[in-house]
């Protein structure tokens, strides 16, 4: 074999034949062909029929028939129950209805005495109608869980861990090179001095205003939900100005889990207790305090704090999820 041939030079590692010849292309995402999805679905249907043996399996046939009948019967029963319940309700728009006279009159006249809340809206939401509010917060919690399931991706976390393992010094450079500056550090406007200065002034004011709205929920307009939304907006502004590294020092996935768990459990237990005592005409033993003071109106203040914490954390978590997939 000749010493200077192309093969021997490649063999001894002096020359890379692929260099400067092959055009390196970044990988593109998988784009399915036009009929591919239909074929896959057809294939899946065939496999399913083969496994369950739909034509010959009498048991399965019977079950399917029963299932259809049961579904129709269940829906019809539910509709019947609801229609009967509606037929018991007083006629809509009748001026003599108790809703138009007794309920609102009772709320307006006795609301301050019975709930101790100067802000009558909060008194209604968190005392008279607390069961409705509890259902609402459950709906919100379920939707949050759904968003977390849909948007949570583990992949990014793994690459982040590799970066940390590869050495702290290279992390910044690597992140700038690989995925684009915004996706890695999380901040759209990286090192924007104007935004950082203004956020430094504004964020404390926003957060303090949110805390004020939550704590004065039973005295002035506002309450847990609005105050929590304000605090969440402040946190989002802080994150946009300073990036995820700063917020992760005090807010991680673990914090979110524990805050949500404790707040919702406390809400559930406290309201269950007051429902139990109220339904059995027992003394609840919770002092109502003097109307107008911060520490008054019984359970409303702690419940407001719980709702505010959950809403603030949820708002920020939604943002973090949309932004980079985890937090």
């Amino acid at each position: 074999m000749k010493k200077d041939s192309a093969f021997s030079r490649w063999f001894y590692g002096e020359r890379d034949t692929l260099l400067d010849r092959v055009e390196m292309k970044p990988q593109t995402g998988h784009a399915p062909r036009a009929g591919e999805i239909r074929e896959l679905m057809e294939e899946r249907r065939l496999i399913r029929e083969h496994i369950y043996d739909v034509e010959d399996n009498q048991k399965l046939k019977l079950f399917h028939r029963l299932y259809q009948v049961a579904a129709v019967v269940f829906c019809a029963t539910l509709m019947l129950i609801m229609l009967v319940a509606v037929s018991w309700l007083p006629e809509n728009g009748n001026p003599d209805n108790p809703v138009n006279n007794e309920v609102s009159a009772r709320y307006i006249e006795n609301g301050l005495q019975e709930t101790g809340a100067v802000n009558i809206v909060t008194g209604m939401i968190l005392d008279y109608r607390a069961f409705d509010t509890f259902g609402e917060s459950n709906v919100l919690f379920i939707s949050t869980v759904t968003v977390l399931i849909l948007l949570h991706n583990k992949k990014k976390k793994e690459t982040g861990a590799e970066d940390v393992a590869g050495g702290r010094a290279n992390t910044a450079e690597k992140s700038r090179k690989s995925a684009g500056p915004a996706e890695k550090s999380g901040s759209i406007y990286e090192e924007n001095l104007i935004l950082q200065k203004i956020a430094g002034i504004l964020v404390p004011i926003i957060v303090i205003f949110g805390v004020y709205v939550i704590l004065n929920g039973h005295l002035s307009p506002g309450g847990g939900f609005s105050g929590g939304a304000i605090i969440g907006a402040g946190l989002i502004l802080y994150q946009n100005a300073f990036g995820f590294e700063k917020t992760e020092r005090f807010f991680t996935e673990k914090t979110y889990k524990w805050i949500c768990f404790f707040a919702l459990t406390f809400y559930c237990l406290a309201k269950s207790y007051s429902f139990f005592t109220g339904a059995n005409h027992l003394e609840s033993g919770i002092p109502l305090g003097k109307p107008g003071a911060i520490l008054s109106s019984g359970l409303i203040l702690p419940l407001n704090i719980c709702v505010g914490l959950v809403v603030a954390c949820t708002m920020y978590t939604f943002f973090a999820m949309f932004r980079k997939g985890d937090f």
């Binding site: 684009g180 915004a182 939304a229």
Partner: protein, 87 residues
């Protein structure tokens, strides 16, 4: 007072129609934001400050931010993102 209410209500209707008819998604989000802001003023005039605070914080603030982030994710924000891709 009355005239102002009518002006705001008219603005509301115009906003609601132009959200659906605007071609750019970013413009739709901005118009939706201003819709929420006007709505919060109207809540204030209807003497329900609770709703006004919530509408301003959620409708004009957090929801629009989430919309912006989503638009960025699906690369519908305009030229800024094209620069990001090329880098």
């Amino acid at each position: 007072m009355n005239i102002l209410t009518y002006i705001l209500l008219g603005f509301l209707v115009i906003c609601a129609i132009s959200v659906t008819f605007s071609k750019k998604l970013l413009n739709s989000v901005l118009i939706f934001m201003s819709y929420s802001l006007v709505m919060s003023i109207i809540w204030m005039m209807l003497e329900s400050p609770d709703l006004a605070i919530t509408e301003a914080a959620v409708g004009a603030g957090v929801t629009s931010v989430l919309f912006f982030v989503t638009l960025r994710k699906i690369h519908a924000m305009g030229e800024e993102d094209v620069d990001d891709e090329e880098r």
